[in-house]
């Protein structure tokens, strides 16, 4: 497990030291392959859980690392084609930063020590902020500054929340530890008012990294201005790991007897996120910003799924995988469209389906999948959540959820159809930017996986989602 964290970090150093910009993307690919091999090896032969260990390969880590490693591998292949076309930019910081991000994300997934989780989360902010500035113009600088400032504020509040939690366990009979297992085992011995305060601060802190409304304001800017690869890895990877951190804190909060309070807080932020996304997605002309609001929406869906409990929670973990992989399809194909037209506004971009025979239809298919159309994976995970809401008698929640989803479907459809349909002959064109297997192949592969998850869900995966949900009182 330590190797899974250390290998990308070592390769990041190699990337920083390497003189050849042309060969440097290969280091990224090597990092992705090593990481994927490592995750598969851990899945094949899970290491025994050791008492008091800071790192553990629990169901939460299995679900999210499996998703992230697939997404990172696809992005690394895509980067070979993408960076070759961006030979005008130095890719040293970009390649190195992505590898540090991979290492930080893996640490968050495996960490059962909330102090270590915090350090890794901070490292993820610092390693990605310079990458948003990859295009080196005023707009990307503004996006990077907002991301850095809002992310740092959030992470500082998360640190305060972590301290509150440590304090909650510092009393007589308390665990005096920040290990999740110790805190859960202490349960009722934790000071409840401090646990409650800690949950609020940690939800705000890691919720900022997830991009839950109203803490999402960095998201449209960062996703709009960053290269497609980074958008894919933030929306499909990092936000999932921020969610994992929230879930771990939620585990502790339940054990301390404050579960009902935490569920209400998650439900409120979740509904607010979906509602706000519905407002801003309608009439959105920038198709990359539209994807950012879609990400706000899906973080809301995860929060609601976890707050409902039961099968809805298992559905939420299924959804982390569906959302992560589909976001990969959308951001990578949107990146191709952005490059080919030199614009990301529907005022100028239309006819992507004809000019880019793979990326255009993939963008459309990704839209259908993410808005919950059958037979793609997200349909089944969202269905499990809605079903869970109605099954638990939460008719208002289920009703609002469906209403917002319908609005978002219509709103996104208008933007996506504008981009994909029509005649591209009068639209701006950037020479040398058509679909190639290196840039269109990775989103195609991810799309096939998303389709496969909808058509046939292997029993092993289904059990895994159930096991992850069982940690916070849910399950199929």
């Amino acid at each position: 497990m330590v190797l899974l964290i250390a290998a990308p970090l070592a390769l990041a150093l190699v990337a920083f030291a390497m003189p050849s910009a042309r060969r440097r993307p290969l280091v990224l690919l090597a990092g992705a392959l090593v990481h994927a091999a490592g995750v598969l090896a851990l899945l094949a032969a899970p290491p025994p859980a050791r008492e008091g260990a800071w790192l553990a390969f629990d169901p939460l880590a299995r679900v999210t690392l499996l998703t992230a490693t697939a997404l990172f591998l696809a992005s690394a292949v895509y980067a070979q084609g993408y960076l070759a076309r961006r030979a005008d930019r130095d890719n040293r910081v970009f390649v190195g930063g992505l590898l540090v991000l991979l290492s930080a994300m893996t640490t968050v997934a495996l960490s059962h020590h909330l102090g270590l989780t915090w350090v890794a989360m901070e490292a993820s902010t610092l390693s990605t902020a310079p990458l948003i500035y990859f295009n080196q113009n005023a707009r990307s600088l503004e996006a990077a500054w907002k991301y850095l400032l809002i992310g740092s504020l959030g992470i500082a509040l998360a640190l305060l929340g972590t301290f509150f939690l440590a304090l909650a366990g510092a009393g007589p009979g308390g665990p005096k530890s920040l290990l999740v297992e110790d805190l859960i085992a202490a349960g009722g011995a934790l000071s409840r008012p401090w646990v409650r305060a800690a949950f609020v601060f940690l939800l705000v802190g890691y919720g900022t990294k997830m991009g839950l409304a109203p803490l999402h304001s960095w998201k449209p800017d960062a996703y709009g201005e960053a290269p497609g690869i980074l958008g894919a890895l933030l929306a499909g990877g990092l936000t999932n790991f921020a969610f994992v951190s929230v879930v771990r804190v939620f585990q502790v909060t339940i054990a301390a007897g404050e579960g009902a309070f935490a569920r209400d807080a998650l439900m409120a932020l979740g509904l607010l996120s979906i509602g706000l996304a519905a407002v801003f997605v309608v009439g959105q002309r920038d198709f990359k910003r539209m994807l950012a609001y879609s990400s706000v929406e899906h973080m809301g869906i995860l929060a609601i799924g976890v707050s409902l409990g039961g099968a809805a929670t298992a559905g939420a973990f299924f959804h982390t995988m569906n959302n992560g992989l589909t976001k990969g399809v959308l951001f990578l194909s949107a990146g191709n469209i952005h490059r080919a037209f030199g614009s990301k506004s529907t005022d100028e971009v239309h006819g992507a389906g004809r000019r880019l025979p793979l990326s255009g239809p993939l963008f459309l298919a990704g839209f259908l999948a993410i808005t919950g159309s059958p037979p793609f994976g997200p349909f089944f995970s969202e269905f499990a959540i809605v079903n869970g809401a109605f099954g638990a008698g939460r008719y208002w929640v289920g009703g609002l959820f469906l209403a917002f989803l319908a609005v978002i479907f219509v709103g996104m459809a208008a933007t996506v159809l504008d981009v994909v349909q029509g005649d591209p002959s009068d639209a701006p064109r950037v020479p040398g930017t058509g679909d190639s297997w290196l840039t269109a192949g990775p989103p195609l592969a991810l799309m096939l996986v998303v389709l496969a998850l909808g058509v046939f869900l292997p029993a092993g995966l289904k059990d895994l989602f159930g096991a992850a949900a069982a940690l916070v009182g849910g399950g199929w």
Partner: protein, 215 residues
Amino acid sequence: MTNLTDLVFILVVVIDFFLLASSRLGAAIRAVATQGALLAALPLLLLEGGHQVGHVLLLAAGALAIKGALIPWLMFRAIREASIRREMEPIVGFVPSMVLGGIGVALAFAFSSRLPLPGGEAHPYLVPTALSTVWAGMLLVVSRKKAVNQVLGFLVLENGVYVFGLLLTGIMPVMVEAGVLLDLFAAVFVMGIVMFHINREFASLDTEKLSALKD
């Protein structure tokens, strides 16, 4: 020792108010540096018993080097290169900032009297000082226009979190504390680079110019 410790806590809060009212950048950076140096003394003043001396010395030295010296030096370099001296008009005026800061201090005292510390005895000013400073830092970040001022606000917020962390020196492993200080340094370092680029791109450090992106 108690009187001296009281004085340090009071000075930390006074500096919060000074920052909320200050329009001169050089003075503000000096104030943040002073606050950082004061915070470095706190772990020594609060030390009880002899079993953690090495740990506490490490924490104090790290805080003094990073908060008291390294970061102020970086900030002075940033404003020299950008040749700016003062904040012209903050988004929230100086008087309303002070009033909001005062409300924050009152709330911090109310909060800490309602939540008893489970760990037993601690200095009665510690939690209110920490929470007031966090609140002042938040105010500075959201109410100031210049990127340098926003970074100063972030530092003040981190100082508040640090004070709270002193409650936990017996519980938190050294490695996490070292990570916290390193992360803070790295954050300010990256912010410094971004500020340099903002300055080059817009010929000023006014984040009001950073307003092209909106819906």
